[in-house]
Point group: C2
Chain length 278, copies 2
């Protein structure tokens, strides 16, 4: 991995790196915030998965997350939302399929297979690379994200409760196999057999017994994409499966980073506490 930018912030460093991804078969870019504690020690790591159209840049610029990570002495990792580059399949006219819309699944269909392996990338390749190369505490990881990335955080944790101390999400796509965004992407990446989609759907995973000790979700009630997110389906599945869930419906908040910035401090504290307990 190659350091391509480093900016001092909150007494730590916000770094950007490039590396050749084996999972995605292309050059991938990501950012890491290292708090000052990482100068002489290893620190826990909170992964943040971003939403449709984002790169690693949106969250590092807009969420105000680094301040809280500095307070708690934890690292942040901001992966990209898809493979990218000239040879990477894309649908130029769609923001919700292809580059910027990897949906954190492992594609099995046609032109998508070669590069769109974002689930393996986020869960395995990137954490292993970072724990080998940066002062991050091995295996002490939490995960959060927004919208498509909230979906990503939920499925990564629910499928790997041994790999993550805690999980949270902002306005996640809770039940992608039942909404337009999810159906459009899952059909393209995973094919027509809907049974193959369930392994990447948080609501279905909870229904079939996948579990985390606790899940925290914030959802704005003025979210312009509310109907795509289906948080009620997830809430019902959690209730039926005795999955502990704190779903906070936030009056008046929309889908933007202004919503995220308002509550991100509580999420970082939630994850820091879970990781410190390790």
């Amino acid at each position: 991995m190659k350091l391509i930018e480093s900016v001092k912030e909150f007494s730590g460093f916000l770094n950007r790196y490039e590396h050749e991804s084996e999972a995605c078969n292309c050059t991938m870019t990501f950012s890491v915030f290292l708090p000052k504690e990482a100068e002489g020690a290893i620190v826990p790591t909170l992964y943040w998965l971003s939403g449709l159209t984002c790169t690693d840049d949106n969250v590092r610029t807009k969420a105000g997350m680094q301040r809280y990570a500095a307070e708690h002495g934890i690292a942040l990792v901001f992966p990209d939302t898809s493979p990218r580059g000239e040879g990477v399949a894309d649908v130029a006219e769609r923001y919700d399929l292809g580059q910027g819309a990897g949906f954190y699944v492992n594609a099995t269909e046609g032109e998508w297979v070669k590069h769109y392996q974002m689930y393996d990338y986020a869960v395995n390749e990137l954490p292993n690379l970072l724990e080998d190369n940066l002062p991050l505490k091995s295996g002490v990881r939490s995960i959060s994200g927004h919208s498509m990335g909230g979906h990503g955080a939920l499925i990564c944790a629910l499928k790997n409760p041994d790999k993550y101390q805690s999980v949270s999400a902002f306005a996640p796509i809770c039940n992608p196999i039942e909404c337009g965004w999810g159906q459009g992407c899952f059909g393209a990446y995973l094919g027509d057999n809907k049974n193959d989609w369930q392994q990447f759907d948080a609501t279905e995973l909870v229904k079939t017994g996948n579990k985390m000790p606790h899940i925290l979700i914030d959802q704005g009630l003025a979210d312009e994409f509310y109907d795509e997110l289906l948080s009620e389906n997830f809430e019902k599945a959690c209730a039926d499966s005795s999955q502990a869930l704190e779903l906070r419906m936030q009056e008046g908040y929309d889908h933007s980073y202004h919503f995220i910035s308002t509550f991100i401090g509580e999420h970082v504290a939630y994850h820091a506490k879970a990781m410190r307990a390790e």
Copy 2:
């Protein structure tokens, strides 16, 4: 003034407005953060003047300032950095002259006169408009800014100590008549007579007796534009004139919003304290 966007954030609202400016002879856009306290009371106001190339959007998205304003129960006002629009003079190939680079002066030269009256706009027209139309405490104002906007904040306060309770700046252009950025703009907007430039130069204003009770400045030592900013000239003028100045040289910090976000909380607290004392 017309409300064109409203987003809930930190229990308050981040609003964007348009209005027809008399000073600038064109439609101007600005943003205001109103804390929840403004629902039932009038609140103090911190003005933020942005730097070259910015609109009202950069600071509202990147600085993380609204969180602290919400904590202190103060409003934030983010004006644009220049007049804008099709009929407004500009130099398309220059980022440091024309639209996005109003330099908070009142132009007296040629094509610039009609619209480039940003000093009057920032000091008089906009505050009067806002105190007439929003729940802002009349005359209880502080001002801060970044780079060109740090220069703007310093001159607005030094020329009007009766209008502002406090002033601070991040990496301000402290002595524009002695640096390339300032000379380029002042020559265009104010003409060739350098005596006419001094009234809009913070270092010159301090030398000639203008005064605020105290000035707070943060300056990064890894600032890529360090040589344009001339903070040492300002420091010397303040020392010679017994102007109280806290100039904090911040090791390793650059000129970006990552630098601003690191210290903005302390600046907001500084201004909130000064305004609460009124």
